[in-house]
Amino acid sequence: MATAKDPNLRPIRTSSSFSRNPSAPSVAAPSPPVPGVKPGPSGAAFVSSGIPDLDKILGGGFLLGSVVMVMEDADAPHHLLLLRNFMSQGIVHRQPLLFASPAKDPRAFLGTLPSPVSSSKEERQRAPGLDPDAKDKEKGLRIAWQYKKYFGERQVPELHDRGEKRKNDGGNVNAGRIAIQSLCAPQCGYSEMDWDMVSFVRSLRAMIRSSNAVAVITFPTSVLSPSFSKRWQHLADTLLSVRAIPDEDKELAKLLTGYQDMVGLLHVHKVAQINTQVPVILEATTFSLKMQKRRSLILERLNQAPVDASSGTSYATSGGCSGSSKGSPLDF
């Protein structure tokens, strides 16, 4: 038996689960670690999404230089949960943040950002210091909004020129974050101009590629035509979607464990592949959103509840099931 001490056995060296050595000589000389930025393979750098579970699922976090898009659900504002966590994480790490929103009072949204668990008075005092950045941006948006009747599509390039200036000011050392809420929503003034909007997203993507920043854009897909929705999806490097779970759905309650605590569902459609042609295949792509103590968001793989013996099916399936094997309520 293996319990006998065998002199021929060598102690097993724990090896990294990565097949490539992350510290291979091909990586550039290590620069001093920037707070809030985690290095990854192939010269990649990650920033946290603000949700630790999501960082793990995506293999490190949001890739710097990539565009993350979140497809909204018309029934529930779960995309705001993602945005809030993304923005507050940036504030905690003192990364310059640009926030654009179609809401009449974007500052109100800033007020709902979760404060970090161990916040000191200092941090809270510093957080408003970043508001002028965000505020300027909102002012810019509002002004653009009013004049849309007169200038038409000129405002769209202006929007991202402003973004570019902000990015350049934001400092070359620190990673930047751009959060855009509900970009093609009807309140957003540009929703009529399909081509201009998609052109803006494309320009933003090109700008982000050559910069040290991440952009998170949420957009309601139901507003776009199917073909434009696909264009937006192709422009995303990382594509997520959120879905509401109906309350008090007896079928779902039977199907899933922990149904009562679930706020919604998150589906990962694609994960950023920059500098590599290998697609990231996740073990599971659909996760449930749960709020823990009303503050932190946790993501869990879906677990199918044990099947009732009396219903006649032969055996209970357990363990993480990906969304594709489920029936219609959870199809994306």
Binding site: S203, T276, I281
Partner: protein, 263 residues
């Protein structure tokens, strides 16, 4: 040195008799992909083939709208091809068009003008390449990807199609090949997919990447369907053939295999 031929090369009509030939001249290759399965790896494979043809044999004009040079450089390096060296040897003409904008968004003339300028740049690059001595190889023009060209043209499909027709004329007049990457699912959701039907009609070879009907899997990343019009067998009879097989993408290459024959 001839690397072993794989299913993709065979389906494309390359690699027969062990010759590592780049794309035969005068062909239009359309690569179609979708959100779930990216077809970029096909482009990388063809790019590598076109650049590995040997000294003086052909060049590549790469219109990159989707990614910056560093992205392709890193990927091709893992595949065993150094893009920086090829670029400095003028075998690779890399057009960085990430931020390409045709001026004058509302006026048709300016969009056309932008395309005319782009086309003349391409023509100049081809002529510069041909003017070198002993260069009789095939020049491959690659576009990554066409839907972004359409966005840059603000949806003006006529201009995009005109530009494409001009590029296709190069395949017959100047002995070039054209490889286009297009996102098929954007156009198939339209009511009248004009661009898609034009492209599929004009292409000599259509390579389509799709996810498996059973969904995602770690071992099989998707399936390839290749429709090769105008292949000729030994007797000169035309044989249209459809190939279908699965693939798995890795850092240093792609594995192609028939369903069920892996492991």
């Amino acid at each position: 040195m001839n690397p072993p031929s794989n299913l993709l090369d065979e389906a494309l009509g390359l690699g027969h008799g062990g010759a590592m030939a780049p794309l035969p001249a005068g062909r239009v290759v359309l690569v179609e992909d979708c959100v779930e399965t990216s077809g970029a790896f096909v482009l990388h494979h063809l790019l590598k083939r076109a650049l590995s043809a040997g000294e003086g044999d052909g060049a590549v004009l790469f219109l990159a709208l989707a990614q910056p040079f560093s992205h392709y450089d890193r990927i091709l390096r893992k595949l065993g091809c150094n893009l920086s060296v090829q670029r400095s040897n003028n075998k690779l003409h890399f057009f960085d068009m990430l931020k390409l904008e045709f001026p004058g968004l509302t006026e048709g003339n300016d969009i056309e003008g932008g395309f005319v300028e782009l086309y003349s740049k391409i023509q100049r690059a081809i002529e510069a390449s041909r003017s070198k001595e002993y260069s009789r190889g095939c020049i491959t023009i690659m576009i990554d990807d066409l839907s972004l060209l359409e966005i840059a043209a603000c949806g003006s499909i006529d201009c995009v199609l005109d530009f494409l027709y001009y590029c296709i004329s190069l395949t017959s007049e100047l002995d070039c090949s054209l490889v286009i990457l297009n996102h098929e699912d954007i156009y198939s959701s339209e009511e009248a997919p004009r661009l898609l039907s034009h492209l599929e009609y004009l292409a000599d070879i259509v390579i389509k990447t799709e996810p498996l009907s059973t969904g995602l899997a770690a071992d099989v990343h998707g399936q390839l369907t290749i429709f090769n019009k105008g292949t000729c067998n030994r007797h000169g009879h035309s044989m249209n053939k459809i190939h279908n097989f699965h693939f798995k993408v890795k850092e240093n290459g792609v594995e192609y295999f028939y369903p069920g024959s892996q492991y």
